[in-house]
């Protein structure tokens, strides 16, 4: 009735007939293990006698932790329901809502885990079992059969013998494969150079219909030269609709009012440069805030050393020398925005940036 499997390791115990009614439950379990090539070497209670004092103590500990888990869970529910939880400014009781949830749930789960682990560690019999690994590969016969079967499939299809099919499959399936890819690629792909205003090369400061674009604050108000104190800086945006939003993520600019001596130095350096000639207005200079390295706003302006630091990768730019990178991974200077003041006395950009704004890329000229 029962199939006796010859286990390689079952040597420790003799096969038994599990249908024998005289067998204890453990003997059946051990027979099952034997059939899975497991030898139960040691399986002994951790306590010398059943119901010993030590065992009762462990049982009590486990029970205690189950109860503690339940109590903490109840506390969690209580806090969850009744503790004030709506955010309020200041040091209020609602600030402790998350703390109370976390501590009660943590205690509950940890107690439950501790109870289960103690059960497993202390109460269950100590066990050493040995199981065979059976890492031997399949038999040579099986390998042969599997290999030959696959080769047989290829033979039967006879693609090798039928060159017409070979070509037809290729010509038939390749376009279908392309169809599978096409919607994904076609839907996602965007030409970065497609627009009339190529997006990588223009910012919001590009003059519109001959009108020069004003420099504005984040609330859209234009800026007069005396709005920025000596040694001050202000983040400016193009004065166009949504100019201060992420629609013009490449346009934020840092307008800096340099001190006299620094301004002289900066002007000399800028005017010596072919591209940056005449970008300053008075002692004011404006550089793109978008780091040429990875695009973070390079806006940590040190007014005494005249450095701009980018907080993401610590590139440092020297304002008095064309915002040339002097430290860190950035390899390209920050583009300067040419400044002018219009008839009403507000700052405008006399043209778009003369260099490409933002992180570097392959086809930047």
């Amino acid at each position: 009735m029962t199939v006796m499997k010859e286990g390689a390791h079952g040597a420790g115990t003799k096969p038994v007939d599990v249908q024998d009614p005289r067998l204890s439950r453990f003997e059946i379990v051990r027979e099952g293990a034997r059939r899975d090539d497991i030898e139960i070497v040691t399986y002994e209670s951790q306590f010398p006698t059943p119901n010993s004092k030590a065992e009762k103590r462990v049982v009590r500990t486990i029970a205690l932790f189950f109860l503690l888990s339940g109590a903490a869970a109840l506390a969690f529910l209580g806090f969850y329901i009744w503790w004030p939880w709506k955010f309020e400014l200041g040091n209020t009781s609602s600030d402790y809502y998350t703390v109370l949830l976390g501590v009660t749930l943590g205690v509950s789960l940890f107690s439950l885990g501790f109870a289960i682990l103690t059960w497993a560690k202390k109460l269950l019999p100590h066990e050493v079992s040995v199981q065979d690994r059976h890492h031997a590969p399949s038999s040579d016969d099986d390998r042969l059969i599997a290999g030959q079967t696959m080769a047989y499939v290829v033979d039967e299809l006879g693609v090798q013998r039928r060159p017409l099919l070979k070509g037809a499959i290729a010509l038939g399936l390749a376009p279908l494969g392309l169809v599978a890819v096409a919607p994904l690629v076609g839907g996602m792909i965007q030409n970065p150079h497609g627009d009339d205003d190529p997006m990588l090369f223009t910012t919001g400061f590009k003059p519109r219909d001959g009108e020069l674009i004003r420099l504005t604050r984040e609330d859209g108000s234009p800026i007069r030269p005396d709005d920025v104190s000596v040694g001050g800086q202000i983040t400016v945006f193009p004065g166009v609709p949504h100019g201060a939003t992420n629609e013009y993520a490449d346009s934020p600019t840092l307008l800096i009012h340099l001190r006299g001596g620094d301004a002289e130095k900066a002007r000399a350096a800028l005017d010596a440069d072919r591209i940056n000639q005449g970008v300053m207005w008075g002692n004011y200079v404006a550089y793109s805030k978008i780091c040429t390295h990875a695009g973070c706003p390079a806006s940590l302006y040190e007014q005494q050393t005249n450095r701009l630091l980018c907080p993401c990768h610590q590139s440092q730019f020297l304002i008095t020398d064309n915002a040339r990178p002097i430290f860190g991974p950035a390899s390209r200077r920050l583009p300067a925005l040419p400044l002018e003041v219009d008839d009403e006395g507000f700052f405008v950009a006399s043209s778009d940036y003369r260099e490409t704004v933002g992180p570097d890329f392959w086809e930047r000229p």
Partner: protein, 282 residues
């Protein structure tokens, strides 16, 4: 005002402290400084003697006169007589205004312990009244930005939207150096933007007005007094006094660095000990 808030208490651990220079060094420094000041003062005096004599000494108020006495005692060696500045030692204070003095002296940055890249914050050497007197003196010497009288914060009951506007101004003007949570941050070559967790409203206002050290100036035309008050309200109420709702510890609001440390020092450590216990024999 801030140092007794939980945030303030938590941050005190990280406040910078510099050990005082050795006594010998202090003495030598003082001697050198004195000699230099004497020599310079002499030189300046001979060079400008007729002019200096001819020039009217400005009429000082009582407070300013007190301030002048303090100045001549403690500041003159670097900032020169009548705060004209000393080349290579300290800048002229003409036109910096009382706001600058209140910030620099009130936070203990001035007088400096020694010449270095950035003046350190330390326990102030002058009390509040003396600081005011010094400020008054510098103000009367050459004018410049002054702290306004009256409240430097906005009452939220009157203007509930001030907090949000202040936060917006803070994020666009301040976070790049002082960080979102106001914990401060590193600048180039050892300079840094200090933490704002202990800063008082007066100090923040004065710092914006005067642009101490490498901090840019935020004049009243750029950030109006009203906007400054909103910004200060955000810093003092939201960043300093508001208890973080996300847990007992805010990990300094330093962002992912301390969070990453915590997951290893707390999470992984507890769980490795747990697994040691699980696998250990009883």
């Amino acid at each position: 005002m801030s140092s007794d808030t939980p945030a303030g208490r938590r941050f005190r651990v990280f406040r910078r402290r510099r050990s005082a220079p050795s006594r010998l060094r202090r003495r030598v420094g003082a001697v050198v400084r004195m000699a230099a000041a004497l020599a310079l003062a002499g030189g300046v005096y001979t060079a400008f003697a007729p002019g200096a004599l001819a020039k009217d000494t400005p009429q000082l108020s009582a407070a300013a006169a007190e301030g002048k006495a303090l100045f001549d005692n403690s500041c003159i060696s670097c900032h020169g007589a009548n705060a004209q500045g000393v080349e290579g030692r300290g800048p002229s204070l003409i036109g910096v205004g009382s706001a600058s003095v209140e910030f620099q002296v009130g936070t203990g940055r001035m007088p400096m312990a020694r010449q270095e890249a950035q003046a350190e914050e330390k326990p102030p050497q002058f009390d509040k009244a003396q600081t005011k007197q010094l400020a008054q003196y510098v103000q009367e010497l050459g004018g410049g930005p002054q702290l306004p009288s009256g409240e430097l914060t906005v009452d939220l009951a009157e203007d509930p939207e001030a907090l949000a506007r202040g936060g917006e101004l803070f994020r666009i003007n301040c976070t790049s150096c002082h960080s979102f949570g106001g914990a401060g941050g590193a600048l180039s070559s050892g300079k840094y933007a200090p933490s704002l967790h202990d800063a008082t409203a007066e100090q923040i206002y004065a710092a914006m007005l005067s642009g101490p050290q490498n901090m840019p100036v935020f004049g009243d035309n750029q950030l109006t007094p009203d906007e400054k008050r909103k910004l200060i309200t955000y810093v003092t109420l939201q960043l300093q006094q508001d208890k973080d709702p996300g847990g007992l510890f805010n990990l300094g609001r330093y962002g992912p660095v301390t969070e990453g440390l915590a997951i290893f020092l707390v999470g992984i450590t507890i769980l490795v000990f747990t697994s040691l216990w699980i696998a250990g024999k009883s």
